[in-house]
Symmetry: C2
Subunit: 220 residues, 2 copies
DNA sequence: CTAAATTTTTAGACTAGCCTAAAAATATTT
DNA sequence: AAATATTTTTAGGCTAGTCTAAAAATTTAG
């Protein structure tokens, strides 16, 4: 139906729209799809003609319902494939993204639905990001930043803010993986670093840079 | 490394080389990749420059070792994905081909190896075709045509000659799937149709058109 | 509120892959 | 062996997607 390139533009614009609000400017898109502003302008005209977004010269773009639907479907496929790669094939947290980036463009509705069922209808991918349902609904999670936890509180690692390989590899190396429990022992008032207990046993120390990029489900 | 299009050309030429022998002519390739002869000539020049095949004007082409390697790798990926789609996701025999045609071009060696392990290192795909090993070796199977079986002999369904959806759907509908046992009761000397017993219980009747397109492993 | 800086768009050109129509080479008939 | 038919190649052109450089619009600064 839509080319790999078109899907990538739509997905990128969708993500920017969530991050930044309404109108998305050319440079931000160029950055997101790794191309030049001139190429973006060309593509905006094309996608606009296809009614996937509304585009006004020099004003920026906004996805139409139709465009949003395609974007969310692509995001759904991406996150289902990430889940497959991590949960079934045993890829590490940081390795799944690049491969899912390719797999998300495979065309077959039947494949998506069968994959979803095979994985047990997961609600979140290996980075804790919510997986849109077949209907396109995204159940936003109530995860909070680990950095807002106070001394004595605890939570379950449920996602990340920073998705870079570097950060994900750091977490993996320190066994800070999805589902682990973290209990805060002490927050340094000097550098905001945190002393904590991982899974009830191991003493760990986390920099503020780390704790402000981990999402947790708070335990009461 | 190589584009989807290049991989498709190489895979097609490889298959033709097995079927027809050495030099493959332009029209046969055009037919295989669903394009026109003029486009094939263009691509042959390109692949020849990349040392993936040797091409002599008006004489036809032949894969180099390098080209053969790429072709076999693509075939390996195709058949592994077909196995995944059938065995894990429950796609029917005839539905797997088109999707595998897309999946075979996903680039990631790690993915291929992990998929192979996940599937338990299968030796044959859902159509009974052998899956090339990581080393590129294809273990040719000793399957024989069901049509050569005599009255009183039996075998296990292990593959097909005709890969068309129409034929595969016909088999599926008649429960003639991989692994089933067929015992020959009688071969008509009029139309070469066959009366047989399926899996030791069900009486079936098969036309010659069907039996000469089914591969079996003969039981003694 | 004008001048400078930035962003965006236009213009023109490139590559991969494909096409049609015509020309050239090869194969087949008579 | 000449005539005809078939196959293959060349020539020129198309689309999707990209790029650079220059022009136009918008935003920011003084």
């Amino acid at each position: 139906m839509y080319s790999t390139t078109e899907e990538n533009y739509l997905k990128t614009i969708y993500k920017l729209q969530i991050q930044l609000g309404t109108f998305i400017n050319t440079n931000a898109i160029a950055d997101g799809v790794n191309t030049k502003a001139a190429s973006v302008t060309d593509m905006m005209k094309k996608l606009s003609e296809k009614k996937l977004l509304s585009y006004e010269k020099y004003k920026g773009v906004q996805l139409t319902e139709k465009g949003k639907k395609v974007a969310i479907e692509t995001l759904r496929k991406h996150r289902l494939w990430e889940t497959f790669l991590h949960n079934q094939l045993g890829f590490t947290w940081d390795a799944v993204h690049d491969i899912a980036e390719q797999l998300e463009h495979i065309q077959s509705n039947e494949l998506v639905e069968k994959l979803d069922a095979f994985l047990g209808f997961p609600t979140h991918d290996p980075h804790g990001d919510p997986i849109p349902g077949r209907n396109g609904v995204i159940k936003e999670s109530n995860f909070i930043l680990l950095s807002v936890l106070q001394k004595g509180e605890k939570g379950i690692i449920s996602g990340v803010v920073n998705h870079s390989s570097l950060f994900l590899q750091h977490l993996e190396k320190n066994k800070l993986t999805l589902g682990k429990t973290i209990a805060i022992n002490e927050v340094s008032s000097f550098d905001l670093s945190v002393k904590a207990i991982l899974d009830g046993k191991e003493k760990i120390q986390l920099s503020n840079e780390v704790v402000k990029n981990i999402l947790i489900k708070k335990l009461i």
